[in-house]
Structure formats: structure tokens, C-alpha cells
């Protein structure tokens, strides 16, 4: 059977068309037909055959599912071992959850199917079963009971108590939770978590989504202990599939120090949930997980009372104690947290003590690092300025220029005040991003004013510009780095005009050759480029991480 060249041509065209069709892409039918109109009937035929072909892959049969698919796609209701799957309740990182009926016992259960990709090795499977069995031994009225763990047709699953109602996440999204309810809910949840801890189980993934509210608004904790199976020592961690939920994750968990993860980790998460109940948002939530993780690790949350003035001081203290960065500074147990919440509800004196001055200053700097670092920088420069002038007077009897001191002090005072205003603006969710640009612009204007008051380009304070560019990188926004670089360049050009035309007397400091300025300007551009590139790389890493954490 010899094929003519044209047959070969047609074959490769049709084969290519079919391959695209089967891959689920839209083949370039129009383009193909413009060149070979005679193929229209053949293409129609391929289309028709494709619509006869059964849907690709099936979850019931292990190994046949295409990579990345969910474990179950089939029709509902359908039987699954001793259960009948009724409807899909939700999908999470671990797999799909179904509402199901247990046929023999005639009870409604929730069945969680574990994605095959999460149980890659037999070691994972063994640990999953061990953890789930440990979890199944827990009996508590506020903990979702696990009935059964197993495997049917290669599909690993566990069946648990079905709670009719909504999750706390849905409840919070629906309308604000009043304070009394918040305290009651959290105290109940803390008691349940304490019970888990007494059984030697750490939840590791406490969040509003994992707290279910039944018809009587009683909370039920679910999904506990299993996060551990999927975390340490494997390639699964490397892709960060189940690393917990950043906004509710304790710093030791966020930093990946799994040996430090213990009951205190859950207490942190309880604090984060309380924070959200009080203020309507978790303590740290940025649009991408990397920023969130950075904040979890190094920032203090905005005080709840600033976001919601009706939060009583005592409740704020309880919340902040749970959110302490160091596990040792939190409540010693979830039971102790529940005790304090109950004391608060009864109006009794609390166990928790307000922090002393040192702690408050320290936590203030972590809460508002941009402001604190500006204060520190301005203070340091001014102090150095005063000390140097004092030394000059003492050693060389040069009297200080009081007028100059006054002007600088006033400018730094204005700078400090402006920073406080900008920080306030930045704290409000809505103005957060514009505030950043306003702040940056004012920073560069004030630096320009200081330089105008001092010796302009002849002053060593010109180093302020590279500093501004480097500091702009701390916002992790490429665009902002460019913005600050541009402002620095403009300011430098203004100072050049100042140097050459407005105050020619400055030219005594050094020669008027342009090479000095050209080099400085190029250095600023290169610095901006380097910082922008660094930020870009960090963001690429961050978006990679975001793809992994749904």
C-alpha cells in the first residue's frame, strides 16, 4: 500500500486536527478549510465521531483519571461502597466532600474523598489511615465525629458526621457576629480544641471554614489532625499543597518549623478566628500568600479596637495574647483561653495582663514598621547631626548654626507628622495603595527640602536617594520601585539646577564637571533596576506559591 504524497499530506492534516479536538482545544478549522475546502466532510465526520466518544477518564477506576482531575466526576447520586453519594458539598485542597447516605444504618454522613495525588506513596497512605483512625477515637459534642476510614476501588476516603448548616466562614460573610455570640462560640470551640489536645491531636488547620454551625448555632470542629499527614518531609510539601491557610497560620507553622508546631499553634489560630469575629477580617490578609506569610512572621496585627471601636479592651487583650508571635507567650492551653473567655462573658477579672511599656513599644514597631523605621531613621540622622555639631564645638570651638538647626528640626518634625498621617491612611484598607504613593512622594519632597536647607548636592545627605529606592523595595511592588526611582532622579535633577544656577556658591565644594552627576544618575537608575528585579523575582516566587495553594 503506497501512499501518494497528497495522502500523506491529508493524513497529517486530519491527524493534527483530531489531536487538537481530542485535547479539548479548538482546532483552526477555518484556516484549514480555506486551503483545503475538500476536507470539510472529513472534518465534520471527525467532529461527529468525537461527539460519540465517551467522556475521557473516569474516577471510579484508579489510574484512568487524567492528571490533575478531581477524584470523582461521575453522575450523582451513585453508590460508593456501603454509601450512596447524594450531592457534592464542597471541594478543598485535599479533595471533594459529598453528602451521602449510609445504606445499612440509614444515616446521613459527609464523605471526604482524598485526591490520589495527595497520597502518593504507601507511606502517605499508611499515615493517612493512622491519623484518621486516631481522629476517629475522639468523641466530643463539638467535634465532628469520624465514623469510618477506608478505601473503595482505590479511592481513599473518610466518612464523618454530617452537620446540617453553614460554616463559620459563611456565617461571618453573611453578617457581622455580635460580641456575645463571638465570645460564646469561641469559648465552645476552644473547649473542643482543648479536648483534641488532651487526646494528643493538634488540629493544625483551624479556620472559619473548618468550624461548622448546626441548626442550633452550636459549633462543630472538623478536619483535624489530617493536615499533618500531608506536610513534612515529602515532595508534597515542596509544592506547598497543604500548608494550612496563611491568614490563620501561626508564625512557627508559616516558617515551616514543624517541630515547633503544637497545641500553641492551634491557640494562635483560635486567636486569628476571634480577631476575624471581632473585626470582620483575619489579622493578616494580603492579596497574595507570600505577603501574608511575611506579615504573619514579622508584623503585629492592627489593634482590633482600631478596626472596631466597640471591642472591649479585655477581649482585645485575650485576642492579642493568642496571636503572640512566640508560642510561649500565648495561653498555656486552649482550656485556659476558654476559661478567660468565660470569665469575660461573666464580667469577672481576666487572667490576661496588659503588656508592659517595653512590650508595647516593641509590638508597636512591628505593627507599623514603615512608620517606626522612618522615625528611627530621622531620629538617628538628627541625633548624629547634633552629636557631630557638639563635637565640632567642643574640639574645634566652631559654634553651631542655630538657625540651620531650627530649620532642620522643623522639617524633620513635619516629616514625622506627615508619616503618622500616611500610616493612618495606609491602615485603612481602601487607601492602602494610594497612601503608599502619597507617602513616597512626600518622602522625596521632604528630602529635597532638607537638602535645599542644607548644602544641596554638596551635602552628604544625598545618600538619602539611594536609601529611598532601596526602602521602596520593602513594599514588594515593582511599580512602586520604579516610581521612587523616577522621583529620586527628578529630585536629583532639581538639585543639579540648584547647584549650577540657584546657589552657585555651592560650587566651592567641588568642581562643576558633569561626570559626577552622570555617574550618580546612572547609579540611581541601576539601583532602581536591581531592586525592581529583586522584587520581580520575589513576586514570581510568590505567584508560583499562590498557584499551589488554592
Amino acid at each position: 500500500m503506497n501512499a501518494s504524497p497528497d495522502d500523506q499530506d491529508v493524513l497529517s492534516l486530519l491527524d493534527d486536527y483530531l489531536a487538537r479536538l481530542q485535547a479539548g482545544e479548538a482546532p483552526a478549522r477555518e484556516i484549514l478549510l480555506r486551503e483545503r475546502p475538500e476536507l470539510a466532510a472529513a472534518l465534520n465526520l471527525l467532529d461527529a465521531l468525537e461527539s460519540v466518544a465517551p467522556p475521557a477518564g473516569d474516577p471510579l477506576v484508579p489510574g484512568s483519571e487524567p492528571a490533575g482531575s478531581q477524584p470523582a466526576l461521575g453522575e450523582l447520586p451513585r453508590p460508593f461502597g456501603q454509601y450512596e453519594l447524594l450531592s457534592e458539598i464542597g471541594r478543598g485542597g485535599m479533595g471533594v466532600v459529598y453528602k451521602a447516605r449510609q445504606v445499612g444504618l440509614d444515616r446521613t454522613v459527609a464523605i471526604k474523598m482524598i485526591l490520589a495525588s495527595h497520597l502518593a506513596s504507601s507511606e502517605h497512605v499508611r499515615r493517612f489511615h493512622a491519623e484518621a483512625k486516631a481522629a476517629a477515637r475522639v468523641e466530643h459534642s463539638n467535634i465532628v465525629h469520624i465514623h469510618d476510614v477506608g478505601q473503595i476501588h482505590g479511592q481513599h476516603y473518610f466518612a464523618m458526621e454530617y452537620v446540617e448548616g453553614e460554616s463559620l466562614a459563611q456565617r461571618i460573610a453573611r453578617e457581622p457576629v455580635d460580641l456575645d455570640t463571638a465570645v460564646r462560640l469561641l469559648a465552645t470551640v476552644a473547649r473542643a480544641v482543648d479536648h483534641l489536645h488532651q487526646q494528643g491531636i493538634v488540629h493544625r488547620d483551624l479556620k472559619p471554614l473548618n468550624i461548622l454551625l448546626d441548626a442550633a448555632a452550636q459549633p462543630h470542629v472538623t478536619d483535624f489532625g489530617l493536615a499533618k499527614v500531608f506536610t513534612p518531609d515529602s515532595e508534597i510539601t515542596a509544592t506547598g499543597v497543604i500548608a494550612g491557610s496563611p491568614p490563620y497560620m501561626a508564625p512557627e507553622q508559616a516558617a515551616g518549623r514543624s517541630s515547633d508546631v503544637g497545641p500553641a499553634t492551634d491557640i494562635y489560630s483560635l486567636g486569628a478566628i476571634l480577631y476575624e469575629l471581632l473585626t470582620g477580617r483575619p489579622p493578616f490578609r494580603r492579596e497574595n500568600p507570600l505577603d501574608t506569610l511575611m506579615e504573619v512572621l514579622s508584623r503585629e496585627p492592627i489593634l482590633p479596637r482600631r478596626l472596631n471601636p466597640r471591642v472591649p479592651r479585655g477581649l482585645e487583650l485575650i485576642c492579642l495574647k493568642c496571636l503572640a508571635k512566640s508560642p510561649g507567650d500565648r495561653y498555656p492551653s486552649a482550656g485556659a483561653l476558654a476559661d478567660d473567655l468565660e470569665r469575660f462573658a461573666r464580667g469577672e477579672a481576666l487572667e490576661v495582663r496588659p503588656p508592659h511599656v517595653g512590650q508595647r513599644l516593641w509590638s508597636w514597631t512591628r505593627r507599623q514598621p514603615a512608620l517606626a523605621s522612618r522615625f528611627a531613621a530621622l531620629g538617628l540622622f538628627y541625633a548624629a547631626f547634633v552629636v557631630v555639631d557638639a563635637l565640632k564645638y567642643l574640639l574645634r570651638q566652631i559654634p553651631p548654626d542655630w538657625q540651620f538647626h531650627e530649620r532642620i528640626a522643623v522639617l524633620l518634625g513635619i516629616w514625622g507628622t506627615v508619616s503618622i498621617v500616611c500610616q493612618r491612611l495606609h491602615d485603612s484598607q481602601r487607601w492602602s495603595i494610594p497612601a503608599r504613593f502619597v507617602w513616597g512622594t512626600l518622602d522625596s519632597l521632604l528630602l529635597l527640602a532638607v537638602l535645599r536647607a542644607a548644602d544641596g548636592l554638596a551635602s552628604p545627605l544625598v545618600v538619602g536617594y539611594p536609601l529611598l529606592i532601596v526602602a521602596s523595595g520593602l513594599w514588594f511592588r515593582v511599580r512602586f520601585v520604579w516610581f521612587m526611582t523616577l522621583l529620586s532622579l527628578i529630585s536629583y535633577v532639581i538639585l543639579m539646577i540648584d547647584f549650577h544656577y540657584w546657589r552657585p556658591e555651592l560650587q566651592q565644594a567641588f568642581d562643576t564637571d558633569p561626570d559626577r552627576h552622570v555617574i550618580n544618575l546612572i547609579a540611581l537608575v541601576l539601583l532602581g533596576l536591581a531592586v525592581a528585579y529583586l522584587v520581580h523575582r520575589l513576586r514570581t516566587l510568590s505567584s508560583f506559591y499562590r498557584r499551589q495553594v488554592p
Binding site: M1, D7, V10, L18, A42, V52, A53, A56, S64, R78
Partner: protein
């Protein structure tokens, strides 16, 4: 053959719903070939072994017959989707049973009569088709026409289309399954497509 004797699927559904036994029999008869291909490809692509799907089709038609009053649609598209749904249930059962009873045999080519027999429970044929599919397909829409025409092709033409198009196997696998070289199955496929096109062609 007059137009009255070559009705559309939607007309047959209408007739069957009115209680016209002949219309109903022809409706089911028309879809048998189509279901045969879908069933075979569904189960084979899951199990990756050769399967005799005729009992699966039988079971599906029986259930469709039994539950016909539950079918709400009117057009061919809805009708085929409904049949496929019933088929999907039965196919899943079939596969589940296969996994339960014959787990150790995966990979071997074995007939599944045993597993499938338990499905059919010895029930009678739903109906004898009133006219053969090949006589009827001229008036039918593409999916049924294509499968009816496919059934008329020589066996190796059918096989290559089933494997390449309906089971979406790459040519290398098709070649392996058919014990031929890759260029040979590609040529065979070309000719099969041409032939199928011709069979359908007069009407397009």
C-alpha cells in the same frame, strides 16, 4: 421507501410516548448500534482490555424501556444524553463488579460474559427492531447516522476508527492493539475515514 417510513427520532419519541408500540420498538432499535459503540468504548477505555459490551447495551435498553415514562425530553440530543446516562450507571457497575471479582486479571484480554451476565438477569429482549438501522439512517442526525454507517464498514475499518477516534488512542497504541505497523494503521485509518465519508456522503 417513503418518508413516512423513515421518521426522525423526535417523531419516534412522540409516537412512543403516545403508546405506539411500533414507534417505540424502532426508537430503541435505532439506538442499539450507537449504544454498542459508546458502551464498548466507555468500558474499554476504563479497563484497557477488550470487552464484550452487548450485555451492557442490553441492560441499558431494558432499563430505558422500563423507565421510558421518566424521560422528559423531545429531541434526539436529549434522548441520546438520557441513554448515555443510564449507560454510564451500568458501565460504572460493570467496572466496579469487574474490579471486585476479577481484580487479579487486569491486563489480560478476557471476555466479560460472566460479569455481564449477572447484569442482564435473563430478561427478554426489549423489542425487535422494526427496520434495520442501515435503512433508517438517512433521515437521522449525525451521531446515530455515523454509528450506523460505521457498523456497515469492514471489521478492520471499524476497529481502527473505534480505537483512534472513539477511544482516543494514539496511533502507536492503535498499531500495537491491531498488531500492525504504525504507517499501516495510519493508512488504514485514512481509508476507513474516506469510506465512512462516502457511506454518509450522498446525503450531506
Amino acid at each position: 421507501m417513503g418518508d413516512a417510513e423513515r421518521p426522525k427520532v423526535s417523531e419516534l419519541i412522540e409516537r412512543a410516548r403516545r403508546g405506539d408500540a411500533e414507534g417505540r420498538d424502532r426508537l430503541f432499535g435505532l439506538c442499539r448500534t450507537y449504544l454498542g459503540y459508546v458502551a464498548r468504548c466507555q468500558v474499554e477505555s476504563w479497563l484497557r482490555v477488550k470487552v464484550d459490551a452487548s450485555d451492557l447495551v442490553q441492560q441499558t435498553l431494558l432499563e430505558a424501556h422500563r423507565d421510558f415514562s421518566g424521560f422528559q425530553g423531545t429531541c434526539e440530543k436529549e434522548w441520546l444524553a438520557w441513554l448515555r446516562k443510564i449507560l454510564a450507571h451500568n458501565a460504572a457497575d460493570f467496572v466496579r463488579r469487574y474490579h471486585g471479582t476479577a481484580k487479579r486479571q487486569t491486563g489480560r484480554e478476557v471476555p466479560f460474559r460472566d460479569a455481564a451476565d449477572s447484569l442482564s438477569r435473563g430478561a427478554p429482549e426489549p423489542a425487535a427492531p422494526g427496520a434495520t438501522p442501515s435503512q433508517e439512517f438517512f433521515r437521522l442526525d449525525t451521531e446515530l447516522r455515523v454509528t450506523a454507517a460505521l457498523a456497515e464498514l469492514p471489521p478492520d475499518y471499524q476497529e481502527v476508527i473505534v480505537l483512534r477516534n472513539l477511544q482516543r488512542l494514539p496511533f502507536n497504541d492503535v498499531a500495537e492493539r491491531m498488531h500492525r505497523s504504525r504507517p499501516a494503521v495510519q493508512m488504514l485509518w485514512m481509508r476507513a475515514i474516506k469510506k465512512l465519508q462516502e457511506a454518509l456522503g450522498d446525503d450531506q
